[in-house]
């Protein structure tokens, strides 16, 4: 506890204490990622219940940002605000700003449908369309948006390859998406999202319904995807956050407690609450 207090006073910015941290910071500064999305005092409610309290967080481009915290801390609500899926739930509303490339997606005249094409989402439970084949699932985003790709096979192959599923399904593309295993279904959902070529991919606990092997595959996949996409992943698994993310944000009861580089946050948390959580003292 004392160490945390001391380091908090000595180092107001996360990750600047110690040699390794300094060099990490230097590395980060050298390749400082641009800010892709930014929330400003973002608040969200379900009915009268406030689940997000003025969260301001920036999400760097082509990096993986993990959102961690105990159940009910608002982390899912937070990322559902990032593509305006929060407002789909009856009685849900939000306030504050969410900037995507500097433009507020909640501004009047911004169509949530267009926001969601740029900011894709993968859900906790794999939800392929059961009435469609594997190939049609991948193409669903385009087709349902009225886009008829000239070479649909290429789109299907590219998206499935990016989602590391191509080799497993290339001979059964006409089979139903629901016939795959849980992990494969989740990768199919990722492929379906990637086929739209979004800029940001939101993942809401994508591995929580999967076994460790399937989880490892998805984590590998996230590593590969961050070269091209900005990724925000909600997870209640701290090891996973540590493994896959570059930045981590810790939420607690609707508030952003701490945010910083993942290495720094896990090794030298600045706030007592963060340390309690990551060391397993609660949550």
């Amino acid at each position: 506890m004392m160490a945390v207090e001391a380091s908090r006073e000595a180092a107001p910015t996360p990750g600047s204490a110690g040699d390794t941290a300094r060099s990490a910071e230097a590395r980060a500064a050298a390749t400082a990622p641009a800010v892709k999305m930014q929330t400003e005092a973002l608040r969200a409610w379900f009915g009268a219940h406030e689940v997000l309290k003025a969260v301001s967080l920036s999400i760097p481009e082509r990096r993986v940002t993990a959102v961690i915290g105990p159940s009910g801390c608002g982390k899912s609500t937070f990322i559902r605000c990032l593509n305006r899926m929060h407002e789909v739930v009856p009685g849900a509303r939000s306030a504050g700003a969410v900037l995507l490339d500097g433009v507020d997606i909640f501004e009047r005249g911004v169509d949530p449908v267009l926001v969601r094409r740029r900011v894709g989402m993968v859900f906790q439970r794999a939800n392929p369309f059961p009435a469609m084949s594997i190939a049609d699932n991948v193409l669903a985003g385009l087709r349902l948006n009225g886009v008829r790709p000239r070479h649909p096979e290429e789109v299907v192959e590219r998206a499935l390859a990016q989602a590391a599923l191509w080799d497993e399904v290339k001979d059964i593309l006409s089979r139903s998406g629901a016939s795959l295993s849980g992990g494969q279904q989740q990768r199919l959902c990722i492929a379906r999202t990637l086929a739209l070529e979004p800029e940001v991919v939101l993942m809401d606990e994508p591995c929580s319904a999967l076994d460790p092997i399937a989880t490892a595959r998805i984590e590998e996949l996230i590593h590969e995807l961050k070269d091209r996409y900005t990724i925000v992943i909600v997870t209640h698994n701290m090891q996973q956050a540590a493994r896959v993310s570059d930045f981590t944000a810790f939420f607690y009861i609707g508030e952003l407690v701490e945010h910083g580089e993942t290495d720094a946050l896990f090794t030298r948390p600045q706030k007592a609450r963060t340390e309690d959580y990551i060391t397993g003292r609660f949550g």
């Binding site: 593509n83 899926m85 789909v88 009856p90 449908v113 267009l114 926001v115 969601r116 094409r117 740029r118 894709g120 989402m121 859900f123 439970r125 939800n127 392929p128 369309f129 059961p130 009435a131 469609m132 084949s133 669903a140 985003g141 087709r143 349902l144 948006n145 139903s176 629901a178 016939s179 959902c189 379906r192 999202t193 739209l196």
Partner: protein, 280 residues
């Protein structure tokens, strides 16, 4: 050990009761079918399916116009009833919140309990009186009104079975709401809805009461919407209440045709469901 024994005995007893009840439920169904087949098969002949009814006293003749007329009436009913019913069901399942939706839902439930003869009187007042004569259109409307609540509620129930996660998946792909409903939700529920429609059609095809004073009857072929039209149930009714032996025979044969027609529709609905279901 005693308790275990007792449990076994109760298990066997309960199972036997279930089987007995099932058999009891099947008995009327089988006996009706068997009776209709036995009495009806004698009257069947090729001309029964191809010829028009003969005047009293002359042998032969068939119910070809009534078979076609029934199909025409059901066709009219589908054209009118299915789109309205399915769209109303979509509204209730996808958009219907609050008082109006509750009222519509309640109205549909009440409507499905209205005796079919009351529907016939309603359409008689509405169409037959205003047009001053019986017509195929009036018969079709009456059947459509009968189908409407079934189609509406089946559509609603089946769409509600489509998990919300699929709606979210569609929305998260940047698809507008109406397209999600049309291409994802409706498509997922389509096999079930088709079954519901088929069952509603099968029921409507066997209705007699609402046709008696809407479509009435016709001894000849008719392709007109505004002329009276023959139908199997009304033909059966007419023949059955007549005092002529030959007509009774034909009534049984026509009943057999109608029953087979309805069974075929039910079977078709099942095949449809299963074929679509397999691709899952």
């Amino acid at each position: 050990m005693d308790a275990y024994r007792r449990r076994k005995v109760i298990d066997v007893g309960a199972r036997a009761a279930c089987v007995a009840a099932t058999l009891l439920a099947v008995v009327p169904l089988v006996s009706v079918l068997a009776y209709v087949v036995v009495r009806g098969a004698a009257g069947l002949s090729w001309s029964f399916f191809t010829a028009l009814p003969q005047p009293v006293g002359e042998a032969g003749g068939g119910v070809a116009n009534a078979i076609l007329g029934s199909l025409q009436l059901v066709g009219i009913a589908c054209v009118l009833g299915v789109p309205v019913g399915v769209l109303a069901g979509i509204y209730l399942a996808e958009y219907g919140r609050g008082r109006f939706a509750t009222a519509v839902r309640y109205a549909a439930d009440v409507m499905s309990g209205i005796p079919s003869i009351a529907v016939g009187i309603f359409v008689y007042t509405l169409l037959v009186l205003s047009m001053r004569h019986f017509s195929a259109l009036a018969g079709g409307v009456a059947l459509a009104v009968l189908m409407l609540p079934t189609v509406t509620r089946t559509t609603e129930e089946l769409l509600k079975l489509v998990p919300d996660s699929l709606r979210e998946a569609g929305l998260a792909l940047g698809v507008p709401r109406w397209r999600v409903v049309l291409k994802v939700v409706l498509r997922t529920g389509a096999p079930g809805i088709a079954t519901g429609i088929m069952l509603a059609v099968a029921r409507a095809a066997g209705e007699t009461a609402p046709l008696l004073f809407t479509a009435f009857n016709n001894r000849f072929w008719s392709a007109s919407l505004v002329e009276p039209i023959a139908s199997l149930p009304v033909q059966i009714f007419t023949y059955a209440v007549s005092p002529y032996e030959e007509w009774h025979r034909q009534a049984w044969a026509a009943a057999l045709v109608l029953v087979v027609l309805v069974l075929l529709m039910n079977a078709g609905a099942r095949v449809l469901t299963r074929a679509r279901g397999r691709s899952r």
